[in-house]
Amino acid sequence: MNHLVDRYVTTALRRIPEQQRTDIDRELRASIGDAVDARIESGEAPEAALESTLTELGDPARLADGYVGRPAYLIGPDLYFAWLRVLKMLYSIVLPVAVGLVTLIQILDDLNIGKVIAAIVTSTLTVGAHIAFWTTLAFAILERTGPHAPLQNTRAWSVDDLPRHEPPGLRTTELVAGATWSLLLIGGLVLQEFTFTAVPVLDPANWTFWWPFLIVVLLVRAAYPFAVRARGGWTRATSAGNAVLAVLVGAPLIWLLASDGFFNPGYQRIAELVDGHVKTWMTTTLIVSVVLSTLWDIGQVVVQAERNRRAVVS
């Protein structure tokens, strides 16, 4: 009969912090004992008395949550939908791009159908797991430290605490996605040196300056919009800063591509392509994409800053 009590108490205590367990354990057992005795006294059979007492106490997990009173969840309702949107976006854009790149490298490296399929499967699983893990970790930290965290609500609320209307381009989802994109680029840049292919795809000579430089600029770029939002949104000055950062990423890439310093000359597939049209074609496509995405990035932020300025003036 005590077997059931042990199971109940242990289940409840599992969800309670260590230092409170001993006391709650004793008290809970005493309370259950009292309730069972009272039922037996009023004529119930011992086993039935125990069963109905525990049933009345209800789900031990719910009881434990009552004792603890802290959120027993990783991401609460405030952030759940933002988390879901970021994940969907990363899975629908970043995952295909990353898998596409890995597949392309594999095709260039060795057009063996088995290896290509293996590359697709493993990169989908690896990149997919990384996206889920890092996104969830970021949101779990935000849940506990961000403005939503219950701990920060101890101060009296004032109208100054009203969240600013999040302007387009600076919503949490977009910021996190943008930062994740920068971090993935950095990850790709570092990893291609060691994995993916036997010989790095990109020119290792650039590790003396350009690759570290790009990593630093990409890190700043990932953090920059967060800082801008904290100061109230895009203005002419901050959009100029964004343009400088975009150029600092774009210009070296274009220069390296144009001067044949981007790909690793030791990477044999590239060496084979040197005289062919394929390489010119690839380089041109890459240069055009970098130019377009840099202009797009600068342009949309400038437009946003201009809208904000007019909104304030009018």
Binding site: I24, R26, S31, D34, Y67
Partner: protein, 111 residues
């Protein structure tokens, strides 16, 4: 409809358990004894709400506790502190005021 009603009833009763517990525990008592006293007095309270509540009130300094090991079954006895008592008095005053206000509202709308 039943779910709506029971939700509102629960809202309305929530605070009353605190007042009742602080009032009853001016004489020391343990979890199950308080549960019995409250249900005999007409308060509908579940054990799984009351036991965690006692600990919260203790953490807030409105109750103190002491283990009594004189009997075969050791029990944790709670007692209302001075602070708890004065808060309970204020809450009872508020309860009386609300009762009056509701009554005024009801009779006022009828008349």
């Amino acid at each position: 409809m039943d779910a709506t009603l029971s939700g509102h009833l629960q809202e309305l009763r929530r605070g009353t358990v605190v007042v009742a517990s602080l009032t009853v525990l001016r004489t020391p008592g343990y979890g199950y004894s308080l549960l019995e006293t409250l249900s005999e007095a007409g308060f509908e309270v579940e054990a799984n709400t009351l036991y965690p509540l006692l600990r919260r009130l203790e953490a807030q300094g409105l109750l103190t506790s002491e283990w009594n090991t004189d009997e075969a079954r050791p029990r944790k006895f709670y007692k209302t502190t001075e602070q708890g008592d004065s808060i309970a008095a204020t809450l009872r005053g508020e309860w009386a005021r609300l009762d009056g206000a509701i009554t005024d509202l009801t009779t006022g709308s009828q008349g």
